[in-house]
Symmetry: C2
């Protein structure tokens, strides 16, 4: 039952090196890194030269290595490596949310066909064991929703804005300087990172595989001083929230959107680079899990948990798919949103059902109103080009 | 891999009936209650008569029944039922923290000998999956401490005191009226409930089995208006906290004590009947899990999670015992405490190492000072008889 794990590590960035360090501190862990595959073997590292290779096949073909740990950024490259490893009968641990969310169906199939495991608890919420808990603990029929702050970078930026009165630009710069945000921050601040994580949580929570392209994600890059002032005056904090909700017996809905959060919500107090997830169920009401969602060591500790799980031959069973009929994905329901805009051309793209509040001025205007999610989704591709900021209010959902 | 579960349910109180209701709402759950054993079969119930028996052997000897779910209050009776069931080859789910904490060594042995499982996630923190996460997810060598508000009743009372300015007596009465506290509240307010839970978390977190009698538990029943005023003036809230901490490579220490909690701590915001647990690790820093710790439905949902885990043949492996050398239990370290007393005779029982603050008046006096845990433990049995209130400050631990 207890297997000694010899790791072939792909990638030696923040998390990869973090894993190496965490393993050094855990001498009892039944795992050792045998070889590390990196792009540039000439770069100076904290490990001696013979530990490295630039040929991933050296890892995959090594019969001593019984686990590939993939920790690189490039989702396409990661996909090819992970696929090849599984086809060669090797189990894999990965933290690549984009790769996993995009290829879920195939990756599940590959695990079955090749009788190997792919574990990726590190791919969502860093050190918080959300995936494992959804898979193992929360019974499907009782689960009502998962609501989370899943992206540490954008949350750090919003915390800087709301707690330290900084502008978006200054806060973003600070996040980049601290290494929380990439030089190209689109992945984080436009909600793509949260979206991929949400797709992963959804399959383990509800069994449903949703194509990320079909889900609305709108980020925080368009936030203006006006929006911040509006939120402050009304006692809200703005958070980038990912949510999957069971809207009726057979349907769920998903979206990633900024949200105007009232102080009575658990996620209101999730600050800085932290992540927080609220799991709502029929019987247990609400549970809240909170921890570091980013950073080398926290993420590495999640990777290590997956590695030791492999020492016990653990694999995801995708129980909600296996034992239940997963609900289908629906966009047929209404959201109450705050829409800030500067010119009426932009505003006219939005098909509101009704508007309950309207403010206009030369500089900035806003409306609070009800809109169909499917209508927002229709203009998903156009949204980044408009000078608007959208945030949803409350968790009131009206399905039709 | 997937077994249909036929339950023999022992006890039909708040949690037992809650389980029945939760199962009704989860038609997909692979479990049905076949028969319920109760003390008084004449009592009117929401279920028809033929479902009940007063003879537990009817359940244990029924070859159709493959899981005994034990949800009675009496720890001794529970012990005999659970033991008998396991000896007859039946797996068991139990929520009885006192029974489990008191008989841990034997219960682990019985599971091995009879090749059965005993699951008890409901026994600590109700719906929060703490035991399962400690067992499966948090690697021993990285785990530094577990700190929790584990008892909903006493936390409800303290919340009433601190948020609604009520006296201890009024708050206790209210908790009893609402069914959060028993008519004999000793188990909750004196920290026994928290202590048993802490013993259980400790074996799954660190692998160490500690006898509850050897651990200090001091409760909240002696809290006075003076103590409340003191805490308020200094910006603290008083919480009843259970803590297990790794104090060095080979040793842990445990205690249940009221604590003066500063607002920067996660547990500061755990209010009412909620539970909250902070899990601290080397790599992931701190994680916080929060949810309903008491009540029929939340606890029943934890029981249901254990039941469905049995449908997948899950059992605790006691991994920290199996794969590591568990640290030993030590009391050789110092705590900084607040001690309020009324007369110097009471005060003289306490052997302080040093005192950094002292206040005396005719009515109430207090000191802030450092004391050895082993010296507090020596007077554990005497503490309930003294008119003193003790609370510890911070999480500073000094080992010698």
């Amino acid at each position: 039952m207890n297997t000694q794990i010899n790791i072939g590590l792909v990638g030696f960035g923040t998390v990869g090196e973090g894993l190496y360090e965490v393993l050094q501190k855990s001498p009892n862990a039944r795992a050792t890194i045998k070889k590390v595959c990196i792009k540039n073997p000439e770069k100076k590292r904290n490990l001696s030269r013979e530990n490295f290779t630039s040929d991933v096949n050296e890892l995959i073909d090594d019969t001593d290595i019984n686990l590939i740990v993939e920790l690189i950024d490039d989702a396409d490259e990661a996909y090819h490596i992970v696929k090849k490893a599984m086809q060669k009968g090797k189990s894999v641990v990965s933290g690549n949310k984009k790769m996993i969310a995009t290829h879920l169906t195939e990756l599940i199939q590959l695990q079955k066909e090749n009788k190997v495991a792919l574990l990726y608890d590190a791919s969502a919420c860093g050190s918080i064991p959300v995936i494992r808990n959804l898979e193992e603990y929360y019974d499907n029929d009782l689960l009502k929703s998962i609501t989370g702050i899943l992206n540490g970078s954008s949350n750090y930026i919003l915390s800087q804005i709301f707690n330290h009165e900084q502008s978006y630009e200054v806060a973003l710069k600070k996040a980049q300087d601290l290494g929380f945000a990439e030089s190209n921050p689109v992945f984080d601040v436009e909600g793509f990172d949260s979206l991929y994580k949400l797709i992963i949580l959804t399959v383990h929570g509800f069994g449903t595989i949703v194509n990320p392209d079909d889900v609305l994600n709108h980020g925080i890059s368009k936030i203006s001083d006006f929006d911040i002032l509006y939120a402050r005056e009304k006692g809200y904090r703005i958070k980038l929230v990912a949510q999957v909700t069971k809207i009726n017996k057979n349907q769920i809905t998903l979206y990633v959107l900024p949200r105007l959060v009232t102080p009575d919500k658990y996620i209101y107090s999730v600050e800085d680079e932290f992540n927080g997830v609220v799991i709502q169920g029929e019987a247990y009401d609400k549970q809240f899990m909170f921890g570091k969602g980013a950073g080398g060591h926290p993420t590495a500790s999640a990777v290590l948990s997956d590695i030791t799980a492999r020492a016990h031959n653990y694999k995801y069973e995708y129980k909600k798919q296996k034992y239940f009929t997963p609900p289908s994905y629906s966009t047929k329901h209404r959201l109450k949103i705050y829409l800030r805009y500067k010119n009426s051309d932009d505003f006219n793209h939005f098909e509101f059902e009704d508007i309950c509040e309207k403010y206009t001025s030369e500089q900035n205007s806003y409306v609070i109103g009800t809109i169909k999610l499917e209508n927002l989704l229709k203009i998903k591709k156009m949204l980044p080009k408009l000078d608007v900021f959208i945030a949803y209010l409350g968790d009131l959902i009206d399905t039709y």
